[in-house]
């Protein structure tokens, strides 16, 4: 984080803590979507500690920005951010994925404070986001809807129904972030189903589109600011190219997999690697 200044340096510390929370949860389970959590931590840090308005003590505050997690298996990453944001008590971290926990492996609205929708059935989130954005406009609310979804979800036809409708209804209060880590269950996303060229597709669908390195904090901050400030009556999307395992070099280098293998002794190594990156 050597080149970052001021506020963005604070965000780097937030991103470090989000990654650390995620690794600690991964250790509880001994497994998990940890590589995704590491790749999206910078985006979540900027969303929760730069872009969004919310009240940690009142997760259902009417004026809050809504954050929808369509790719429910990224719950480990969102819990990590919600803990850092003070919406979920840090003591619950140890319960991740356990019986009676409020932090199930796949995110569900009824389980967790700050979880706005039940994900897991990939492809459903964007249509909910459209409804919420319409609802906020009906209420003349200034709140925004943020939705995180994954590149694999681009295979789902219903996502494109919703993308089209968001432009039709000029939902300028909707900011989507698609995590392009190029990995889904059966392999590299672009090989599973060719979804590029994504910028041109999103623009053709009527979205204000930015494509950034999702692990470059300056770029992520800039993209969120631009998405919020843009004056066009269009929905906004940030295409975030990310690196799975980001921040833990031996996981970055591991053969890419949707559900990576982590040996028991490696969790401590992962924490040490994060600490090293924090101080560099």
């Amino acid at each position: 984080m050597g080149n970052l200044k001021g506020h963005n340096r604070d965000l780097a510390e937030r991103a470090y803590r989000v990654r650390r929370n995620a690794v600690l949860m991964g250790e509880v389970q001994g497994q998990g979507y940890i590589a995704q959590a590491l790749d999206i931590a910078d985006v979540l840090a900027v969303a929760y500690f730069h872009a969004m308005t919310y009240r940690p003590e009142d997760p259902e505050w009417e004026g809050r920005d809504r954050f929808l997690l369509s790719n429910g298996h990224y719950a480990i990453a969102l819990y990590a951010a919600l803990i850092e944001a003070g919406i979920i008590p840090a003591e619950e971290l140890d319960s991740y994925g356990s019986d009676e926990s409020r932090l199930p492996m796949s995110g569900m609205a009824s389980y967790t404070p700050g979880m706005e929708m039940s994900g897991g059935s990939l492809g459903v989130g964007m249509s909910i986001a459209v409804g919420m954005a319409l609802g906020l406009k009906r209420k003349k609310s200034n709140a925004r809807v943020y939705i995180l979804f994954s590149d694999g979800e681009l295979d789902e036809g219903a996502v494109w129904e919703a993308l089209m409708s968001a432009a039709h209804y000029k939902l300028d209060n909707l900011i989507a972030i698609v995590d392009v880590n190029n990995q889904q269950a059966d392999g590299p996303s672009t090989q599973v189903m060719a979804f590029e060229p994504l910028v041109q597709k999103m623009e053709a669908f009527g979205w204000f589109t930015q494509r950034i390195d999702g692990n470059d904090l300056d770029a992520v901050v800039g993209a969120f600011d631009t998405a919020k400030d843009n004056a066009e009556a269009k929905p906004r999307i940030i295409i975030a190219d990310t690196l799975m395992g980001k921040g833990v070099p031996f996981l970055e280098a591991r053969e890419k997999n949707h559900f990576i293998r982590v040996d028991p002794h490696e969790w401590q190594l992962a924490l040490a690697a994060l600490e090293e990156g924090r101080q560099s």
Binding site: S127, G131, L134, G157
Partner: protein, 335 residues
């Protein structure tokens, strides 16, 4: 199914238009009871909004759109989007009435209803035209299994109204109910029957429409009007037929159903505009078995097969759900 061979021996009926009324000739009707009732209710319930997937006119929701254009959302021919967006609007405190055909809601968008509405317990009202066998267009438009699919979903209330009188009462009742509801819709010129019986709809309640000593019809939806007509016909055959109307398929009024089924000496006949798989008949049979009610049990419903295209009266005769088919079947069983 074997391909039909054109017959030259008798005049053939033609397939009626998609929006044709199911009313029989001479039957009293009322126009667009759902749309009319919703427009009326929405005068005071400003949280109600209308949503459709390119079937506003075909579900009578266009009346709502004309009355409240700023509360009406056209979602395009995209049923998954329709129900996901309805969930999002419900999350923001609105009460969406989302309409399409029953086949598209229950078959195409099932997971979206399951995950974004039922699992999240969103206050969405799903109103679907062409339930069961009410279209002659073949399986693409015949929702023979919609009740089975929707009653298998936790949190979902399922209603199959009989006529215009009932639909008019169901609309405010489903709006007053907190939680997801699936309603089967009869649209256009809808038969008017139950007003003759001083009928009052109550969510979750089965109602005895007429008494009788020999046969107890337990019926839902439009089959209740058929059962009532059949009961009148059967008077001349000295067969005394009772009709218990069960508009709420879920939650099921098992107390009333068991009380009526326990009355000795009556054959219990469940009649539904639905496949014999997974609908009211199996639900009633289950509760009779669980509670040791050993009445003679019969079941009238659609066969477990892809149904034919053609004119509705022909199809209702062929598959045994027309009034005449009910009369013939009861006479055979009572012989």
């Amino acid at each position: 199914m074997t391909k039909p061979v054109p017959s030259t021996s008798k005049p053939r009926l033609t397939t009626s238009a998609m929006i044709a009324s199911i009313a029989s000739e001479g039957q009293r009707t009322q126009a667009a009871p759902f749309g009319t009732a919703l427009v009326e209710l929405a005068k005071t319930r400003t949280d109600i909004i209308g949503m459709t997937a390119d079937l506003g006119k075909y579900t009578d929701l266009h009346l709502f759109g004309q009355a409240y254009p700023d509360r009406y959302y056209q979602m395009g021919m995209a049923e998954q989007l329709l129900f996901g967006a309805a969930s999002g609007l419900a999350a923001e405190g609105f009460v969406p009435f989302a309409t399409t055909y029953a086949v598209f809601a229950t078959r195409r968008a099932y997971d979206f209803i399951h995950q974004t509405i039922a699992e999240e317990d969103r206050n969405v009202k799903i109103v679907c035209a062409l339930p069961g066998l009410t279209s002659g267009y073949g399986p693409s438009h015949q929702a023979a299994e919609d009740l089975a699919l929707m009653r298998a979903m936790p949190n979902m209330t399922v209603i199959d109204p009989c006529d215009a009188c009932e639909i008019t009462q169901v609309v405010p009742a489903m709006a007053a109910h907190q939680g997801p509801v699936y309603m089967r819709l009869l649209r256009g010129q809808v038969p008017l029957v139950l007003d003759e019986y001083n009928y009052t709809f109550e969510l979750g309640k089965a109602k005895v429409i007429r008494g009788g000593r020999d046969v107890l019809f337990i019926s839902t939806g439009l089959m209740t009007m058929r059962a009532l007509e059949a009961a009148k016909h059967l008077e001349s055959d000295k067969i005394d037929v009772a009709v218990l109307h069960v508009p709420t398929i879920k939650p099921l009024d098992t107390e009333t159903i068991l009380r009526e089924a326990r009355q000795t000496g009556r054959m219990v006949v469940v009649a539904e505009n639905h496949t014999i798989v997974g609908g009211l008949g199996e639900a009633v049979a289950r509760h009779m078995m669980l509670n040791g009610v050993a009445a003679q049990f019969r079941h009238i419903g659609l066969p477990d097969e892809f149904l034919a295209a053609g004119a509705l009266p022909t199809l209702h005769d062929r598959y045994g759900i027309s009034t005449q088919a009910l009369v013939d079947q009861i006479k055979a069983w009572q012989a």
